[in-house]
């Protein structure tokens, strides 16, 4: 079996260098605008920074993938088209797209450019994936986080392109690219603006004995004195639905697949994706080093316990939809 490819987040040029140095096979990033799904202040790359990042990565045998994975705005898609043109001119190793219109445009205007289908495209079945492969020449799909390992194994027998799966980091319980919860509450969405539960709409209210975290004025969670106050990502809050309040959609957990790498290899997965372009250089370095070790061990048929202390959201981990019990 082929060794799993390790695809790592680069929110900044410093994180890119940290990931490459720690053993990433590929790094992914976006431009500093609405064309990518981590459009956060202080993150992302200019054209010049991407060019430098490409040189740095290529000199060390690593690949660079550019994410242009939001949906282009009607009547005003210049930024998205410019991003695709830059990807082609700068010769990134792959361009990650979600929008059908952009996929069609990229295929027409940059026939030599390798295309990956973003998780934001929500292609969760063989028919949808094969459609994107046939019509746009997509060569890899980043699978939505809605499939079990058994589903993925079956899927890989029914498609001819590579699959990349999320391996570690923040986890959406919703099908990505199909969620407008954030814009319902804040007016800003992953699909249109590249943000979810944006910091501009967050506030923390000291209530004396407790601390409330709010999004768009709605209380998303409340923490007692001994509790660590988490960021109010809408779907990771505490709510009640005719019963006791709790984490109705998802606990504030991190995805961690390090214990099931041999199963993912056996399911025919090509690449593992580490989430976290918004994370620090130190975080990237530690997660990438640990996964490098785990992947190398898995290639020898071994499992290793990883040192992920302090890295997981809410200090809890899950294998998410990869195990049926999550659903």
């Amino acid at each position: 079996m082929k060794k799993l490819e390790l695809v790592c987040p680069a929110g900044t040029p410093a994180a890119l260098r940290a990931a490459v140095d720690a053993g990433a096979d590929a790094v992914y990033m976006g431009f500093r605008d609405e064309t990518n799904a981590r459009n956060f202040p202080g993150l992302n790359f200019s054209r010049e920074e991407l060019a430098e990042g490409l040189d740095y990565a290529h000199a060390r045998g690593a690949m660079v993938f550019l994410a242009v994975n939001t949906y282009a705005r009607a009547g005003d898609d210049a930024a998205w088209r410019a991003a695709i043109r830059s990807a082609s001119e700068l010769k990134v190793d792959a361009l990650i797209l979600a929008d059908v219109g952009l996929l069609d445009h990229a295929r027409e205007t940059c026939p030599g450019l390798r295309l990956h289908l973003s998780v934001q495209a929500s292609a969760s079945n063989a028919e949808a994936i094969n459609f994107h492969a046939r019509r746009f020449g997509v060569q890899r799909v980043v699978l939505p986080r809605v499939l079990t390992v058994a589903d993925i194994a079956r899927l890989n027998k029914e498609i001819d392109i590579e699959t990349e799966v999320f391996a570690f980091g923040g986890m959406c319980p919703m099908a990505e690219g199909r969620c407008t919860l954030s814009s319902y509450v804040t007016g800003k969405s992953p699909n249109r603006n590249g943000v979810c539960s944006p910091a501009s709409h967050v506030d923390y209210v000291d209530e004396g004995a407790s601390l409330a975290s709010r999004l768009g004025g709605f209380t998303i969670n409340r923490f007692g004195a001994g509790e660590q106050a988490g960021y109010p990502t809408l779907c990771k809050g505490r709510f009640s639905a005719g019963s006791e309040a709790g984490y109705l959609f998802e606990e504030p957990t991190s995805l961690d697949t390090s214990a099931i790498l041999p199963e993912l290899m056996a399911a025919g997965v090509t690449a593992l994706k580490i989430e976290g372009r918004q994370r620090s250089k130190a975080y990237v370095k530690q997660v990438v080093s640990e996964f490098r070790r785990a992947i190398d061990a898995a290639a020898e048929g071994n499992r290793v316990a990883l040192d992920m202390k302090g890295l997981s959201e809410g200090q809890q981990n899950t294998t998410g939809a990869y195990a049926k019990k999550w659903m």
Partner: protein, 301 residues
Amino acid sequence: MDVTKPDLSLGALLFNWPAAEVRDFYFRIADEADVDVVYFGEAVCAKRRPFIAPYFEEIITRLQAGGKRVILSSLQLVMDRKDMAAVADMVAMADDFLVEANDMAACSLLGGRTFAIGPSVNVYNEATLRFFEKEGAVRVSLNAELPEASLRALAAAATAHLEVQVFGRIPLAISARCFHARAHRLAKSGCQYVCEQDRDGLTVDTLDGQPFLAINGLQTLSHRYLNLLGEMPKLQEIGIRGFRLSPHTADMVQVADLYRGRLDGRIGGQEANARLAALVPAAAFANGFFHDVAGLAEISA
């Protein structure tokens, strides 16, 4: 299809009502509701399909006899063989009916014939619209989060009949996880179909007791009801031709009458809003997405 003439449609019932109630609901729609188009089919959870399947033919026949154009809605999230079989069943009827694709799997299977596209397939810009029109899409129901400027640009470019939702809770998210089962501390595989208990969805409250969202099995909806009665003249002016009502336990025949009156210019915006509030007294309303602010906002049009 005449893309220049506006029409009023009833979207697919999103909730899990007992099968006999579903049948009675559609029979009444067939006989009494002044709508041009009725979407029919399970879009949320494939596990619900076996219950309604025995009534399928009767419902469709009755709707057609009532002069309604029937469009078959397919599943939104297609993950496994059971889901794919549900989509394939709908596509198998594409020679006789327009089928609404709600996932790229259905777009793939329907490409090359005429078909409809539902709001869970992302058509956010002209290039995407053009691609699907070339594939055969003749009717495109747009995602509710699109603001006026996007609707305007899309309508200016469209050859297909563009539709927007104007009434009912807004579908906001779909998941592999069943939140109804989870709220009842059940596994999805042993869900006991608890979503049947909540005919308009189960209200999700914040820790402050503020109603916030509504869950419907795998789906999460707005708690507020979308109401674009005030915006309908503007929508028509910019070239939106389809006006979609999402079914609720409210009297949908009267809701349809009200929207028809508004579409025909017989009822003013203010009066229409007052009448809708009386028809759905428990509902709070929202129209923020159209105005490019938070979707839950209620802006005076």
